[in-house]
């Protein structure tokens, strides 16, 4: 038998609107068999059928035996459950008594639905509040016992860039849209319930709404977008979109160019073969933000080919031979708002900072730059340098024997020759 699907043109709490809509459908020979993202009808409708919505019980998605028996004895049959909100009853008998013979008792019946929704809203609010408190605590108050120089507020500009990821914004917009709908729907339920309890007619239904259909279409279109968005976000956090440095097309400063020419350097893999422990070395990662349309990281790591005596900070792969190992992590931003450049640079330096080192920050001057900030750890092994020009910012974190401030001309080219 052919089935017909229709989008649902009502708020879920426009009770009289839904009942009339179903009765009009029955007059056209349609009978509802499923309520979901859309309503599915079979062509078994009987003209003159009356439909009534009954608020679901708290604990059950189907009516109780007692309710079924009472309703059946009055000529009403159960059809289906709508979104765990209503039981749908119908009768084809024109002489069957109305389910509700007074308005107040219908109000009492809807009261339990209103209480249920109010309870869910409180639970949601509590969950959001806990998440918000946790985030605020993590961002502003949490201190790692290893962090010798905590400055949590400094990380905010980079966090803001992450928040302005278009996919995050799509998720937030979808969440906000859905929240607005639920607030509007809840208000309608409250008004309807109140009117019934006072013995008044409920607010009149506006009838099938084009706006509601548009919203349904948007929600239907958003579902695949949200699924893809989630997958992309999960993928990006798990490094699915990392690219080996040798295949990365964008500009970066090569670690080899920074190191002394007399020391022969190569990658870990070239020396010892592939190892999962060293995955992520010499890879580039793209980020995306409306505040930074171009934003990427290039992480490089090289090892001395011959045996050395450098006591580095990194894991020694050879059990005590102290092979020289240098790393350079570069983050480049092209910002939409150039005024954010220095804040973002300082923020990225804080994000990259080794927690167990105390850094000294020095302003450097360079004629081609708006600013250059140089940071060194006390032992001199770890250094960072941030350069900015207009909306272009590059932040370098380095571990090795070189002095970054001596390479300022080279590093400045990242922002002066974008």
């Amino acid at each position: 038998m052919k089935k017909i699907r229709k989008l649902f043109p009502f708020s879920i709490y426009d009770i009289s609107g839904i009942e009339h809509w179903l009765e009009d459908a029955a007059n056209m020979g349609l009978f509802p068999i499923h309520f979901g993202l859309w309503v599915t009808f079979a062509q078994t409708g009987v003209s003159g059928t009356r439909f009534r919505l009954e608020a679901c019980d708290k604990k059950s998605t189907t009516p109780s035996m007692e309710q079924l028996e009472l309703y059946r004895s009055a000529g009403w049959e159960y059809a289906l459950t709508i979104s765990n909100v209503y039981y749908l009853f119908y009768t084809t008998d024109p002489s069957a008594k109305e389910l509700y013979t007074d308005l107040q008792s219908r109000g009492f019946s809807l009261e339990k639905l209103e209480k249920k929704i109010r309870h869910y809203r409180r639970v949601h609010f509590a969950i959001y509040a806990v998440i918000a408190v946790f985030l605020i605590w993590t961002l502003f108050f949490f201190q790692s016992k290893w962090d010798v120089d905590p400055a949590p507020l400094k990380k905010i500009p980079v966090l803001l860039l992450f928040l302005c990821h278009p996919l995050v914004l799509v998720l937030l917009a979808a969440g906000g849209f859905s929240k607005l709908q639920s607030i509007r729907d809840y208000r309608l339920l409250r008004r309807t319930c109140q009117a019934f309890k006072e013995g008044l007619a409920p607010p009149p239904s506006a009838g099938p709404s084009r706006q509601k259909i548009r919203e349904q279409k948007i929600m239907l279109a958003l579902i695949p977008i949200l699924i893809v968005t989630d997958l992309l976000l999960i993928g990006s956090t798990r490094g699915v979109f990392r690219v080996p440095v040798e295949r990365f097309p964008k500009a970066y400063i090569s670690l080899q160019d920074l190191e002394a020419e007399e020391v022969e350097l190569t990658t870990y893999e070239a020396l010892f073969g592939p190892s999962r422990f060293y995955e992520g070395e010499n890879e580039a990662v793209h980020h995306l933000s409306l505040l930074a349309p171009t934003w990427y990281e290039v992480n490089q790591s090289v090892y001395q080919t011959g045996e050395g005596d450098f006591k580095g900070i990194s894991y020694d792969p050879e059990g005590g031979k102290y092979r020289y190992h240098a790393t350079l992590d570069m983050t480049y931003f092209e910002l939409t708002i150039p005024a954010m450049a220095r804040m973002v640079a300082e923020s990225q330096m804080e994000v990259d900072r080794a927690l167990n080192r105390r850094y000294t920050y020095t302003e450097l001057s360079h004629p081609a730059l708006d600013f250059a900030i140089y940071a060194t750890s006390k032992d001199g092994i770890l250094q960072a340098l941030a350069v900015g020009k207009g909306g272009h910012v590059a932040v370098f974190s380095y571990g090795g024997m070189q002095k970054l401030d001596e390479h300022l001309d080279l590093l400045a080219t990242m922002v002066t020759e974008p």
């Binding site: 035996m65 309710q67 309703y71 009055a74 389910l99 013979t101 007074d102 009492f108």
Partner: protein, 102 residues
């Protein structure tokens, strides 16, 4: 809802409580009692009756005594009797007020 703070009962509420005064009742018996008692003036739809039975149970005005298949039987509690008598008193006062003014 309790004691003196109880809101006035609606007409269907009043008659449903009244139906339990002398005996235990199931849903269909209540409907028949109310129609008989009011000569058909007050008719209870199944939704009205089911909702009121749920509400009264929640407020402990009635309690379930037995379940036989799909049929459930209820009786009035002491609290339910007090609620009914309070309402009766209120209605008597209303009636007297009206008669005095005639």
């Amino acid at each position: 809802m309790g004691g003196k703070d109880r809101a006035a009962l609606t007409e269907p509420m009043y008659y449903v409580l009244m139906s339990f005064l002398h005996q235990e009742m199931c849903g269909i018996e209540i409907t028949e009692f109310v129609e008989r008692k009011t000569d058909g003036r007050v008719r209870l739809g199944p939704g009205t009756l089911y909702t009121l039975l749920g509400k009264f149970q929640e407020e402990k005005l009635i309690e379930e005594t037995q379940t036989e298949g799909r049929k459930r039987t209820y009786r009035l509690t002491e609290k339910g009797r007090e609620a009914f008598l309070e309402e009766l008193e209120r209605l008597r006062a209303c009636l007297l007020d009206g008669e005095e003014e005639l």
